[in-house]
């Protein structure tokens, strides 16, 4: 009996110790700047949102390897962590939140630009305003700022526009030669072109109004609201009422509704209809360029068969922008010197070029942009970004904004714009207030 009791107690103690050891994690020398390995190198961990084996992942790894070679003497070693995002960006974000909860947050993370406000308010991101010089900041097309403070630097940039089928345009007697990023068309010109295309017997434009399950529709369509003088939230990001449901915002959504009502676009356009010559225009981002260059050769044998038009201009000129960014985190390493070195390296012109060569996106730095031929799709996107790129609303409740935007687009054909906006405004304001209450 006694023996049995002793063995049980010993077993439980062993289990307790084992559990404690697992919970405490591996023994590592921790310093203020980061963990230090056996060779005395300060380890700076950087977490990426893509798979390591992807082209983009490999480009990041190469830049990290190059950093390690260059900083060998300074005893700083970068360690890349790859957590491929799944189900949109939410899988990666869950990983970030778990790491924050567990206190294992990497020194540098990549994050989607619209999350800047929420991450900054929650203390996830480190304020780097004083660490990056004004001269250096001016080299970027955009920066991740919130309430005047700098929290992140974009990895790359994005812009979108209207890809068009030149053959259909020719056949419909439409000439768009003079329309450039510097001299954009107007919303009325846009409607006229749509009318001509419809009269020609094709669906005028795929506005992607069916893409309301993720960030696609908000990303591609929000510039139409700004173009009509509308907005979504106040400058501090805490007030939706009076902005999201303003008359100008309603005008923006009404413009899209009118396109649906006139039969210029619809929710029933197939995902490959533009690529197979059934639709005149297709609203999309730069990532469609490789598709048109390499796939669908039967319909688009060369760049002579397709072109890219900028966003139409209303009372304002606005175009889609924003991509993923780097940020130094507010983790338990208080000395950010080593992290800052890695951040500067990853956002250098060389890194910017190397990464965008792999992704096909626009470099985040102006001094890393190639000399694109004027009139080429890449030039149009880059120039448009420079002249009219407007970021998505900066608010702590961005995910709710994105959801409500999708709901408005989803219900546009049958719903009343004012009712849809009032409902969306209430939902967004409630979400903002709840987060605000939590400090």
């Amino acid at each position: 009996m006694k023996k049995a009791l002793i063995s049980i107690v010993s077993f439980l103690l062993m289990l307790t110790m084992l559990f404690g050891m697992i919970a405490c994690g591996p023994t590592e020398t921790e310093g203020e700047a980061g963990a230090t390995d056996t060779e005395g190198n300060i380890i700076v961990k950087i977490m990426f949102h893509v798979d390591k084996s992807s082209t983009e992942g490999q480009a990041y790894q190469k830049r990290v390897n190059a950093f390690n070679a260059a900083y060998k003497d300074q005893k700083i070693k970068a360690q890349a962590i790859f957590k491929a995002r799944s189900a949109g960006a939410s899988g990666y974000e869950t990983e970030l939140q778990n790491n924050q909860t567990e206190g294992t947050l990497a020194d540098i993370i990549t994050f989607d630009a619209p999350n800047t406000a929420a991450y900054a308010t929650s203390g996830l991101l480190y304020d780097i305003s004083s660490l990056i010089s004004a001269d250096e900041q001016s080299k970027f097309y955009s920066l991740n700022k919130y309430n005047g403070k700098l929290y992140g630097i974009p990895i790359q940039e994005s812009s979108a526009g209207f890809f068009y089928n030149k053959k259909i345009f020719r056949d419909a007697g439409i000439n768009v030669d003079g329309i450039t990023a510097e001299n954009p068309w107007t919303l009325e010109d846009f409607k006229d072109v749509c009318a001509k295309l419809k009269a020609h017997g094709v669906t005028a434009v795929d506005m992607r109004i069916d893409a309301t399950k993720d960030e696609t529709a908000p990303y591609l369509l929000y510039p139409f609201i700004y173009a009509n003088g509308g907005s979504f939230v106040s400058e501090d990001g805490y007030t939706a009422n009076g902005y999201y449901n303003s008359a100008n915002t309603a005008k923006g959504f009404q413009f899209i509704k009118d396109l649906i009502s006139a039969g210029y676009t619809s929710y029933a356009i197939g995902s490959t209809d533009f690529f197979t010559g059934k639709v005149g225009m297709y609203l999309s981002s730069g990532w469609t360029i490789p598709d048109l260059d390499n796939k669908y050769r039967e319909y688009f044998s060369s760049r002579d068969d397709w072109g890219l038009l900028p966003y139409p201009k209303g009372t304002e000129a606005a175009s889609a922008t924003g991509s993923w960014s780097y940020a130094i985190t507010n983790n338990h390493h208080t000395d950010k010197t080593a992290s800052l070195e890695l951040l500067k390296w990853m956002t250098s012109a060389e890194s910017s070029r190397a990464i965008t060569d792999a992704t096909g996106m626009i470099p985040a730095r102006k001094d890393a942009v190639k000399d694109y031929a004027p009139g080429s799709p890449e030039y149009t996107l880059m120039k448009q970004l420079e002249l009219s790129g407007t970021e998505r609303p900066v608010t702590v409740a961005y995910p709710t904004f994105s959801t409500t935007f999708n709901q408005i687009i989803f219900g546009l054909d049958n719903g009343n714009v004012t009712d849809l906006l009032n409902s969306a405004t209430k939902t967004l304001q409630d979400a903002i207030d709840k987060i605000k209450e939590r400090g």
């Binding site: 049995a4 049980i8 439980l12 919970a23 939140q97 924050q100 929420a118 309301t212």
Partner: protein, 323 residues
């Protein structure tokens, strides 16, 4: 949180140890010396599975229960405050103002009421159909079970192609033969949920068919012979022999399909997104907890949903218990 988890786990270990010691002392008091060794062995064998169940099932449930009374915001795990019943007040306010939660409840109830009889009915029909010897029945069994092994994401994608709007959609192009105009099945509030019900029943009924088949194999053949001798027709045989023999199987299937139906999320999430006409309770909880990051509110909804499902399940058991 890690420290709290360790403390709770240690408490669990000590409680478990207490049980063992109490059992051993009881055995000793009753002079059941032979029980000591077997008791120790039994508890030691039980410990790994009980510990794992505690860590991965009970502990998260306990946390979720606790979070329901807090203002836990996912991005601020170090600032969790106790708010007592505030989350529940907000829930009832959202229901009373017919907000998204109200839609989620209505849609979930619609789904449950639609899918439970359809899925079980289909499963029973298929089981009766394939419950006969021959190669044909084996082929049918495989065919009917095939959708079960396909992931829900793939199923949702396939059905999206079938239900695609416009004349190019598979269903629309088939219906156009009969002169029916193309319809946007998943955007129309009148057809979206019925479509999700049909695809869910199609996807899931193969599994219940197998359970019904095992139930059918337990019914003695001589009962059918006796019924035939008594002059029973096919319906009488089904009602008085098959159905009676399948009663306990049916109760099990009813409860599991009901619980599964209450948790529906993947299909609306992948096929329509977070929309009024298809949002469900689980999807609402996911959106609230992960997308909007309001874990406290999400946990409060989860708690109420658990109570609801538990209550209905108990009612079902009571209603269908053997007399």
């Amino acid at each position: 949180m890690t420290v709290t988890s360790i403390v709770i786990f240690l408490l669990f270990l000590f409680a478990f140890g207490g049980f063992v010691i109490y059992d051993l002392l009881t055995a000793k008091r009753h002079k059941e010396v032979y029980r000591v060794k077997s008791t120790v062995t039994a508890y030691l064998m039980l410990l790994p599975s009980v510990a794992l169940a505690f860590l991965f099932i009970l502990l998260p449930i306990l946390y979720s229960l606790g979070y329901a009374f807090t203002d836990y915001y996912l991005l601020q795990p170090d600032k969790i405050g106790f708010v007592f019943l505030d989350n529940f007040a907000e829930i009832f306010e959202e229901i009373s103002t017919k907000g998204m939660l109200y839609n989620a409840i209505i849609n979930t109830l619609t789904f449950v009421v639609g899918v439970v009889p359809l899925q079980i009915g289909l499963a029973l029909l298929l089981a009766l159909f394939v419950n006969r010897p021959g190669i044909g029945s084996k082929i049918f069994k495989v065919c009917f079970f095939a959708p079960v092994v396909i992931s829900l994401s793939v199923t949702a994608f396939l059905w999206e192609q079938i239900l695609a709007p416009g004349p190019g959609g598979l269903l629309n192009s088939m219906l156009s033969v009969f002169g029916v105009a193309p319809h946007d099945w998943l955007r129309d509030p009148a057809t979206a949920m019925p479509c999700i019900i049909v695809l869910s029943a199609w996807q899931g009924c193969g599994y219940q068919m197998l359970i019904f088949l095992s139930g059918l194999s337990n019914i003695r053949k001589d009962l059918y012979e006796a019924a035939s001798l008594d002059g029973a027709n096919a319906w009488h045989k089904f009602w008085n022999v098959t159905w009676v023999g399948l009663r306990s199987t049916f109760v099990y299937i009813l409860i599991t399909v009901f619980i599964g139906a209450c948790r529906i999320m993947t299909q609306p999430m992948l096929m329509t997104g977070y929309m009024e006409h298809t949002v469900t309770l689980s999807y609402y909880m996911y959106n609230s907890g992960y997308t909007e990051r309001l874990v406290g509110e999400s946990s409060a909804v989860a708690l109420l949903m658990t109570i609801f499902i538990g209550g209905i399940t108990l009612m079902q058991r009571r209603l269908f218990r053997e007399k």
